[in-house]
Subunit: 460 residues, 2 copies
């Protein structure tokens, strides 16, 4: 073997890069070494809330491929092994066994940094108490499952009402636990605009979840046994048997920064379109920043689908092929019990920050023909650039069958469509699947009217 590929991090990006490169190594010249600090490879972190809720029955269901399976495919996977330093000049990685403390240097020809993200943990008193959990790794998921089985947990407090927060609120409610979710913002789920967030609040309250917003956590009360007993937020004391921290994540880019690689304003590693951070050094997944096609800026979006794309692109490039990442538009989807949430493009806060002038339009529709017995409501909000009418963003809040429509808007944004152009698109219709005017078309039409209405108001 004449070429060694070293991968730091054995999850989505890392293992996908390793597998892709090896699959294309027809000459058998590639040696692939993966360093993974944890106990697992290639697992679905996004699935953890559903394992905790019991909806996905087995931990192993979340593991796409075990270390053994990767080894059978010819990858030298070294578990419980971390990289402590990178020397891009000597092309070496300093390696340390997490359990045994053994250290060694490992030379590379191609290096893949796939170190993922770390949870945002504010410096609050009691944050390290027993019963306070993050939900970032399978190990943390295991701790929560064990903790819920170990004792009588009747009251849960979820801190942060973003993706992980609302998904964990669902998990707690499904398990019959009295649940409160907190957020600093005026409405939950700031990935959508506050008017759409208000719909999520209402739906969560109807599910029996207590939603406290505009509230910052000050700290945690800890009992004599070292276990959390309450969450303090201003004058409010919320008794809690278990606390879930869902304040989001930031890129785990310290190793890269220490090696002198460029870090962007978002905190993520900067790469070129081929996901190359420096000659022979590649980075992808939750530790990088990516180009946002609408704002034109570098953004950090931790999401399994991007991580997998990055891994495939890196593997393809290392194998001598051509792969380029076209950037993101911030598409995402989530749910809280039966309530679905989808978003793509820019929300109002983001559009303002990017400097866009825009109109908005919000419509209510149904997932099927209105007379269909299973018809569910959905609300769609669009942002369109004033004057050009270009679609800038879309948000959907609704019930079963609504949110996946966000992909139609994502495809429209990807192509730079105007809302006017979308008005008469040939989308599918049959009573079990949509009204005769699909919500996408109704929303586009209303937005197009807003764009037209905005023209006279513009002096130039």
């Amino acid at each position: 073997m004449s070429k060694r590929m070293v991968v730091i991090g054995g999850d989505a990006t890392g293992m996908s890069a390793a597998s892709t490169a090896l699959r294309h190594d027809d000459a058998g010249e590639l040696e692939v070494v993966v360093l993974e600090r944890g106990h697992y490879t290639s697992y679905s972190a996004c699935g953890i809330p559903y394992w905790i809720s019991g909806h996905v029955g087995e931990r192993d269901a979340l593991i796409a491929r075990s270390p053994e399976q990767h080894r059978e495919a010819g990858i030298d996977v070294r578990m419980r092994t971390e990289a402590t330093a990178i020397d891009t000049e000597k092309q070496t990685v300093s390696v340390r066994g997490v359990d045994d403390g053994d250290t060694y240097e490992l030379g590379y020809d191609e290096l893949v940094i796939a170190t993922g993200a770390v949870p945002t943990v504010p410096p609050l008193t009691g944050a390290d108490a027993e019963g306070v959990f993050g939900v970032q790794s399978l190990e943390q998921g295991e701790q929560i499952v064990k903790d819920l089985a170990d004792g009588d947990r009747r009251r849960a407090v979820v801190v942060g009402a973003g993706y992980i927060g609302v998904e964990m609120a669902e998990a707690m409610v499904v398990r019959g636990i009295e649940t409160t979710i907190l957020d600093q913002a005026p409405e939950p789920f700031t990935q959508v605009d506050p008017d759409m967030g208000a719909l999520i609040r209402e739906a969560m309250e109807n599910m029996g979840i207590t939603v406290l917003t505009g509230v910052a956590v000050d700290g945690f009360d800890v009992g004599e046994d070292g276990r959390v007993t309450a969450v303090r937020a201003g004058d409010t004391v919320l008794p809690a048997d278990i606390v879930i921290m869902g304040l989001g994540v930031k890129p785990n880019a310290q190793l890269a920064a220490d090696a002198g690689l460029r870090i962007g304003a978002s905190g993520g590693i900067v790469t070129d379109v081929r996901m190359q951070a420096a000659p022979g050094v590649w980075a992808g997944g939750d530790c990088v920043e990516v180009h946002h096609r609408l704002s034109g800026t570098g953004v950090h979006i931790a999401l399994g689908t991007h991580a997998n794309k990055h891994g495939r692109i890196i593997g393809t490039n290392i194998a001598g092929g051509y792969g380029a990442f076209p950037g993101v538009i911030g598409t995402a989807i989530s749910k809280v019990c039966s309530l679905e949430i989808g978003r793509t493009g820019l929300g109002q806060r983001e559009a303002d920050a990017a400097g866009y002038g825009y109109v908005t339009a919000t419509v209510e529709s149904t997932t099927t023909a209105g007379y269909w017995p299973e018809a569910e409501w959905m609300t769609v909000k669009l942002l369109a650039e004033q004057r050009t009418g270009r679609l800038l963003g879309a948000q959907i809040v609704g019930h079963a069958g609504s949110a996946k429509r966000i992909d139609v808007f994502a495809t429209a944004i990807w192509n730079g469509m105007t809302v006017e152009e979308m008005t008469f698109m040939d989308l599918s219709y049959a009573p079990p699947f949509s009204p005769v005017w699909d919500a996408v078309l109704v929303a586009a039409r209303k937005a197009a009217k807003e764009v037209q209405g905005a023209i006279p108001a513009s002096p130039v």
Copy 2:
């Protein structure tokens, strides 16, 4: 009032044109007269199979607006009234009362022809027997509902395995009737390619439906009471207590043809992009042909969503606004019980007819993460133009939650995307909604590989 708008046909296109024009008539100058031969206005013909199955409980649920409601909005709706001739020079319509036979001439300033479609009925012996039904109008739906209630119907034969055929097969099965569906083609549902049709056959057979293909109906056996007793197809005699004819429809364009309006090769009335067939004469819905954006030809596609778009466009134009129909790409969706079918763009037969050189790619995926308990299978087939890689068509056959993804492909085709460009699109991902690589992306990737592979095979 200084201007009279006469509308022939009081369903989707006609009433939508009438309502739209009147809504924009700020000066109050418009008189709107609608002539409707039947008993109902503005109803969902697409919903009839679900009313027959019992899934939609009430006939009136299918009626969006009754004649009375339209009259309250200021439209002069004349029911059981048909147009027998149009004189475009004198600008008059000859009118006849269906029940009383009274005739009169009606002058118009603007005429809307929205005469819909008529079922394709082959000249078979016994086709007019009792117990043989079409499913085109609400009146026919009523006859079927009444017939099923009146007697013990144990065996149904559905002739034609297209949209109406499979939907009526579902209706019969849901009602506990032993059902056989027949089609001349080698596989059912020729709106998709035969390999995809084979999946539909298999699913229908698993639902207990007998699927007979490559079989042409020769006629019907009729009992002494004048009621159908069997369907004859070659040597096969299929006993039947009820027969549903689902052989498709053709444009009801005779009135327009007699008036000297141009009729296209598809049999539909030809219009310009504003849906104008001649000065002051507009036509839309199931009686016109429309521009297919991929084949470049005029096609006849009878579908409520197009009909409603046409109506709105015609109404806008008559009101002095600007509306233009951008054409179709053949997007459609249907289901048979839990099996969903979506298609857009060109199938292989259509692509061949249009002269395209293309590659195909078929992938199997799931509607959600594979480990999600409710994961359902779905098969996606794509056609992409060779060399350019432009997406030409997509077909989806799968279970709950699969077929609406066809809209993503429709939006991609609408924008002239290549499958390569689609490979890394930012589509939504979360375990309850898709695998980490959505089926759309997996299919695009496979098709892109086929396009690449096809390059060396091409001499120029």
